[in-house]
């Protein structure tokens, strides 16, 4: 189980420097939800909604300003290392040491995660064949394309068989064949873990997720379950209705100001 209890993130110091006042810039207002093993949660929201902040906090990259997270009975605040041993995180921008080969990166990660040799080798072969990475193993990371980096990042997040898999825009840069491999992998392994997926692709959310959390300006505006019954159009309309203000700025709907108002009205009328 994953329990997320009132987690929030604010940046006080930076704001004080800019504004010289006691206010905080709130990146994430308190968020609370829980997920069970086998759940795949789609995180939706416009750019700057707080999706990546929530994922980074859940991954333990930084501590939340308030709130607590518990995964498989381990609290992030109390036992951060033990908690992070249970998660796999693929950041939005997969940064790999340019001069190291893919194989060296995986060896490093398996050592940090203290994997047994035989299990590491088995998992290594399994993932390599599933994600078509065998040919890339001896390539320096600096020579990888964006799609290849994404696949390596996805592999790295899955290497230790995490109980909680956090994926930030994992499909950007993937070609259709790689996207299909990615989807089948998520479906194949979903029962053994909890997956949280941040994406702008509503179709992917419908195809992979059974739950969706919609964020807007750092706040949760909706938490939907049983997504399987939704149609893509209905989800899109629902999403635009909840976050309509800057939809056109972020390329979701190319409309003029008048059209945007009309569109907003239509959506609100649903």
């Amino acid at each position: 189980m994953l329990y997320v209890e009132g987690v929030s993130k604010s940046y006080s110091r930076e704001y004080r420097l800019e504004q010289s006042c006691s206010h905080h810039r709130v990146a994430l207002s308190p968020v609370t939800f829980s997920l069970q093993q086998g759940d795949v949660l789609g995180l939706l929201g416009l750019n700057g909604a707080g999706k990546s902040t929530l994922l980074k906090g859940l991954a333990g990259v930084f501590p939340f300003s308030r709130g607590e997270v518990e995964c498989s009975g381990v609290r992030l605040g109390k036992h951060p290392c033990e908690y992070r041993a249970r998660i796999g995180y693929q950041p939005e921008r997969v940064c790999l040491p340019e001069s190291m080969t893919v194989r060296e990166v995986f060896s490093f990660l398996s050592r940090v995660h203290l994997l047994r040799d035989e299990m590491r080798d088995r998992r290594f072969q399994e993932l390599c064949s599933l994600l078509s990475l065998s040919q890339l193993l001896d390539v320096p990371c600096g020579e990888l394309s964006k799609g290849e980096r994404q696949r390596v990042g996805f592999f790295a997040a899955n290497l230790h068989g995490p109980a909680l898999l956090l994926l930030d825009e994992p499909m950007s840069g993937l070609d259709p064949r790689q996207m299909r491999e990615f989807r089948s992998f998520i479906r194949r392994e979903r029962e053994s873990r909890i997956t949280v997926l941040s994406t702008h692709l509503l179709g992917e959310v419908l195809a992979l997720c059974n739950k969706a959390l919609i964020l807007h300006e750092g706040r949760v505006v909706a938490f939907r379950e049983n997504l399987g019954a939704e149609s893509p159009e209905k989800l899109e309309q629902f999403f635009l209705r909840l976050a309509p203000a800057s939809a056109s700025e972020h390329g979701i709907e190319e409309v003029s100001l008048d059209e945007e108002r009309k569109e907003t009205k239509v959506v609100q009328g649903l």
Partner: protein, 281 residues
């Protein structure tokens, strides 16, 4: 699904440090920085070694020729008649002190590689999501850099060692000289790691670190009466007098305490500043 984690990660700090250490070593030896600094420092050290050796040879020839001027000069300086030029005083001591000064130029480049490049490439996010503490990351980075520095010092000590063996001189000054350089490197490096939060840009960081080391290097030049008599106290902050004593063959716990204290302070500050950076992300 069968769990893949072999043992409790919390109890395996050493293994994680070892994993990070290997990663750091791979990064060092697949980049060009280490080869450039090894070659350039080797060339500079060789140049100065030859100069000091030539000077020693010239003085020895003068001594052997028995010039009265040399004897008179020797008496006036030492008050004794044992005027044979000393290899330790004319070659080994100045050589190790010069290499100590070269470290002021090399260490800022090395320490900027440790954190600034990592920060600029954005790989801290990935590192911070791994099951390890900031202390483990800092320790592994420090140990990897120190391994390379010990290698550098060993290479740079090879020529004096060879000279000592050939001339049947005491081995101790070379040994202490090498130890002094290793301790000096540790202090300089940890100071740089402690500064890592100050500048994000690697060039600005290297410059700041270089200026700090230059200030420390030239502190002994301050007159004792400087700034209401604080000059004498400020001079004790410089590593140079301690290094000089060691290259002369004197070794005391004060020197060891100074170098270990500075190194520990730098590392603790590095851990604190990196933890703060993590909090402010």
């Amino acid at each position: 699904m069968e769990p893949l984690v072999a043992t409790s990660p919390v109890r395996c700090s050493g293994k994680r440090i070892s994993a990070f250490y290997r990663r750091e070593m791979t990064l060092w030896w697949t980049g060009s920085a280490i080869y450039t600094s090894l070659l350039s420092s080797l060339a500079a050290a060789a140049y100065f070694f030859v100069i000091y050796l030539n000077s020693f040879q010239a003085r020895s020839e003068q001594y052997r020729a028995g010039f009265l001027g040399t004897i008179a000069e020797g008496i006036s300086q030492t008050g004794e008649l044992s005027l044979a030029p000393s290899l330790r005083e004319m070659v080994l001591e100045p050589y190790f002190q010069t290499v100590g000064f070269l470290l002021v130029f090399i260490l800022p480049l090395w320490s900027s590689k440790l954190f600034c490049e990592e920060r600029q490439s954005g790989s801290f996010d990935a590192l911070f999501s791994l099951p390890c503490t900031v202390g483990e990351i800092v320790t592994a980075k420090f140990l990897a850099a120190m391994t390379n520095l010990v290698l550098l010092v060993t290479i740079l000590s090879a020529a004096p060692l060879f000279l000592v063996v050939l001339t049947s001189q005491p081995f101790l000054p070379v040994f202490f000289g090498g130890i002094a350089l290793v301790l000096l490197s540790a202090a300089y490096l940890s100071l740089g790691m402690g500064l890592s939060q100050v500048c994000r840009n690697s060039f600005a960081f290297a410059l700041t670190h270089f200026l700090l080391l230059m200030v420390l290097y030239f502190l002994p030049a301050l007159p004792p009466e400087f700034f209401f008599g604080f000059g004498g106290m400020l001079r004790t902050l410089s590593p140079v007098p301690y290094t000089t004593e060691m290259t002369q063959g004197f070794f005391s716990t004060t020197q060891l305490a100074y170098f270990l204290g500075v190194s520990a302070a730098g590392l603790v500050f590095a851990v604190l500043s990196l933890s703060q950076e993590r909090y402010e992300q």
